[in-house]
């Protein structure tokens, strides 16, 4: 008990040359602080109310535009969401692409665990689950090495690959996916994690066998 008294005395003796704060002072300070924080909060809320609808609308438009480029033959409003999944605990969706009344393909959003970031991808497949196009939505891989995954020469390697061939190989290969030299981890994250798991997931979800009879 006596030790606490000593501490309390030391606290009070610090501060403005011995002037103790009266209850009135503390009240004034508290009111001062609360008023400023309320005003600040209101201003921030006002700006949020004005800007966030615009922000969400633009994000939706961007997503729609990105999806449209994945399967260009689809109708303008022919891309519809058919489900959601959670690769690496992140929210992702998958879509069907329609032309007229016919389903011509699917688009899957996926995530892969890269070297220094989670890589967000879009994959479009045809009705046989053969890959048509891959595009990178977001990543933070190493500039000059991992960020080569954005380049066309790498993304082309996915065209017409089926699930079994979504395997990374160092060096030249005809039917598998050639790794980016110096960026094997990033290459694998895109190919074997993001793209392959996405296509596998869709296959299972739709439980549709492949048309020509072969199976994964």
């Amino acid at each position: 008990m006596s030790l606490e008294d000593v501490h309390c005395k030391t606290e009070f003796s610090k501060g403005d040359a011995g002037a103790k704060m009266t209850a009135k002072d503390m009240l004034k300070i508290t009111v001062n602080l609360v008023v400023i924080y309320i005003i600040g909060g209101l201003i921030i809320a006002f700006v949020y109310a004005k800007t966030s609808p615009i922000m969400f609308k633009k994000a939706e438009e961007e997503k729609k535009a990105a999806l449209m480029t994945m399967i260009p033959e689809a109708d303008k409003d022919g891309i519809q969401s058919i489900g959601k999944w959670e690769p690496h605990h992140k929210h992702a969706g998958y879509y069907v692409a329609k032309k007229g009344n016919e389903e011509i393909g699917y688009i899957i959003e996926g995530f892969g665990k890269g070297y220094s970031s989670y890589i967000n991808v879009l994959v479009s497949v045809d009705k046989n689950f053969t890959v048509k196009k891959v595009s990178i939505l977001h990543h933070a891989e190493t500039p000059g090495l991992g960020d080569e995954i954005e380049k066309d020469y790498f993304l082309k390697r996915f065209e017409n690959k089926s699930v079994d061939n979504l395997v990374v190989v160092k060096g030249e290969t005809k039917d598998k996916v050639e790794a980016i030299s110096g960026a094997t981890i990033s290459s694998r994250a895109v190919t074997e994690d993001a793209v392959r798991n996405g296509v596998k997931m869709l296959k299972e979800k739709l439980s549709i066998g492949v048309k020509d009879g072969s199976h994964s």
Partner: protein, 208 residues
């Protein structure tokens, strides 16, 4: 340090040259390394900082007579956090491509020593117009530093400027990585110190 009796123009020049945030005061160096890997990013960050710096200085100076010194720190924080939130939300809605690159760093402006320092050292003790000039000078000095550092880093590290390819051939990749950022800032700081030395020699005054 009570009233500072400098003209507004002198205050602006002070922020750009004598007390340049990055090259002289060497504070808020994190963004000078993180966001200067391309000219577009460095420029956008610099412009955002000008906005926050000027508005914070203005606001703090306007309310300086209503601020109890005991609670000035939480009050500065509210003002700074408020303006950073405003520019963050505005950018997210109206400048999305840039926001995707530097959005994370915009939110870190709340922790900038330079903004907090100017509020504490200048704005809370000086008139509104002077505080505005001081904030403007500091902001412009920061922007210029960002531009200079990004210019060299993107040119040598990617062979490009503002995304447009300028030189072909293998770039010095390290310049766009964090280590290169340190090198760039250090070398430029040394360069400006050397320039100062030479200018002082010519004038005949000694420099500390």
């Amino acid at each position: 340090m009570a009233h500072i009796h400098k003209s507004n123009w002198e205050l602006i020049k002070n922020g750009i040259f004598a007390e340049n945030t990055i090259f002289r005061m060497a504070i808020s160096l994190c963004p000078s390394i993180a966001v200067t890997n391309s000219l577009k990013n460095g420029f956008s960050m610099g412009v955002s900082v000008i906005f926050v710096q000027v508005m914070v200085n203005l606001t703090v100076s306007l309310i300086r007579n209503f601020v109890n010194p005991k609670i000035r720190i939480p009050i500065f924080m509210m003002v700074i956090a408020g303006y950073v939130s405003i520019i963050d939300m505005t950018m997210a809605a109206f400048a999305r491509p840039v926001y995707k690159q530097i959005g994370l760093y915009i939110q870190l402006i709340v922790a900038f020593a330079s903004i907090f320092a100017r509020a504490e050292v200048f704005a809370v003790k000086n008139k509104v117009v002077s505080s505005f000039s001081d904030g403007l000078g500091m902001g412009i000095g920061f922007l210029l530093a960002m531009i200079i550092i990004s210019f060299f880093r993107e040119l040598f590290g990617r062979g490009a400027l503002w995304g447009f390819p300028i030189v072909s051939g293998n770039p010095l990749l390290i310049m766009v990585l964090p280590a290169g950022g340190f090198f760039a800032v250090g070398l430029l700081m040394g360069f400006f110190n050397w320039v100062d030395m030479k200018l002082a020699e010519r004038k005949g005054t000694s420099v500390s």
